[in-house]
Amino acid sequence: MNDNSLRLVWVYPDLLSTYGDQGNALVVERRARQRGYDVTRVDVRSDQPVPASADIYLIGGGEDRPQRLAAERLRRDGGLSRAAGNGAIIFSVCAGYQILGHEFINDLDRQEPGLGLLDVTSGRGQAGRCVGDVLADIDPQLGLPQLTGFENHQGVTHLGPTAKPLARVRFGHGNGTGDGTEGAWNGNVFGTYMHGPVLARNPQIADLLIRLALESQGLAPVDDRWYEALRNERIAAASASR
């Protein structure tokens, strides 16, 4: 990539943007610009081809039927899989996370193939929806502070041998498998059940995505005052509510 530019793709906002998912695109964009990078953000609707040459791809959450439509169109399009093959960074949330796996249960109660970019398989939980504030410890290999988020899902995701848990929950459900794992990652591909604007509560993950895209070790500091205040408040709230 060009030294000073970052190409960001938000995948299918017409289908997968139910819980403020735009927030993740806005946070990455803002934090890269604050470091002086020239960001090109492309919002790709589901009737448009997904370009294979961008640096960072974000894919969000959605209702059951739009999720199936998104999976069908992404499989047919092939752009996101080609981008993964090129080593692009992909960050996925909820329905988008399930789509990156091998398969999930669709709105017609059938198994729907995903893109197979993460070694995970999703089903539907029996125990009702997981809703509420979550606190989790991120995989130490990533060197990031605690994950704070809000979950609202019925899906359950099992990790295969090549997917590592993104985090281990202290409070909340995460992958819903009962083993305390939350999300998954492998190389440059990440998935989480922390919905919508999870990067707003975890700007260090946004910075990680930017660093991976730039192949850079560090980024100039920015004013994180409000992010830190929000993190502290939500971490305390998650602890108090469980």
Partner: protein, 412 residues
Amino acid sequence: MAGNTEPLSPRSKLAVTAGKAAAAVSRAAGKGSGSVIGGKVALRLDPDLLGRLAGHLDVVLVSATNGKTTTTRLIAEALRASGPVVSNALGANMPAGITSALAGGSDARYGVIEVDEKYLSTVARDVTPKAIALLNLSRDQLDRAAETRMLAERWREGLAGNKALVVANADDPLVVWAASSSPNVVWVAVGQEWKDDAWSCPSCGGVLQRPGEDWLCAECGFRRPVPSWALSGEHVLDPHGAAWPIRLQLPGRANRANATTAAAVAAAFGVHPQTALERMWEVTAVAGRYDTVQFGGRDLRLLLAKNPAGWLETFSLIDPPPTPVVLSVNARGADGTDTSWLWDVDYTRLTGHPLYVIGDRKLDLAVRLEVANQSFRVCEHVDEAVAAAPPGRIEVIANYTAFQDLRRRVGN
């Protein structure tokens, strides 16, 4: 459309009396108006009471994500030109609250009833309405309520076979999808500022095309119907093409849209659009919304916005910069406990306004505004925000429980 004047059965009368007694006890205990508890008691004694009470009335139901309380008021005001009206004017819009409101209106000719979106089909079955007004559907309190498209689906099923005249917004694809199951629809073009819940064809899932004001699905042919009524700037266009001026004390495009729908409903009951629109001038604040109050030596205008579509409409009606704006957000039970919707709201629209942030979730708002590159000040409460704001009327925008907190604090 004359009402049926058959008297209530002894059992229904008893239920009404018991409900009123329960409401009085609840009021005496300081627990609000008691209308919901009264309605619950009455419905338990006579489960068919709602239908029986409505049997005497020509009923209009009003449902939507946003604007249903105001539109109910506007329709009620317009129909008073033609006869006495009973209405759930305070927004108790589930079956118990509706029962309670109707029980208080034995002399009325019309019942103008706001209905919660989730209860529309049930209430429409119970009360045999003459007309149903459907304004819009969008995301709202998603961690509690049904998904938006599922709501449209439920409306669609409930309206199939209902004989009411449906007055529906031609510019909202989800509303059109829901209303199309009815054999008897009047389409009203009142616009749709918030489009992010309707990019996907409700019928087949194709991507909707939106050339200009039109919308259509290239895959299945589902498209915007031809409207017979329309909002055009400051006027209502009737089916004959005549333009009638809208005169409202309520601000904003969204309220002109509400007035247009109200005029179309009133016309179905024989009220001329000019008469209907003139009467709507009488509607001022609706349950404190749009009220301007004095507080701390300043004028504050109180604006309620509960979801992304509501915030977007509100941004379009506030006074221009440098008018100071106070934003207040809570995430208690009645608001939905999730704040992710803040990221669906385009806060860059507030550029140039001095911004003050309060409410339980002021830190979520602070990060949201930081990312939108806005300058703002976080305050502990409204007093501090008002004291800090530069001169001029202050616009205060709050979501549901934040709005209640605000009204208590400023004594409105």
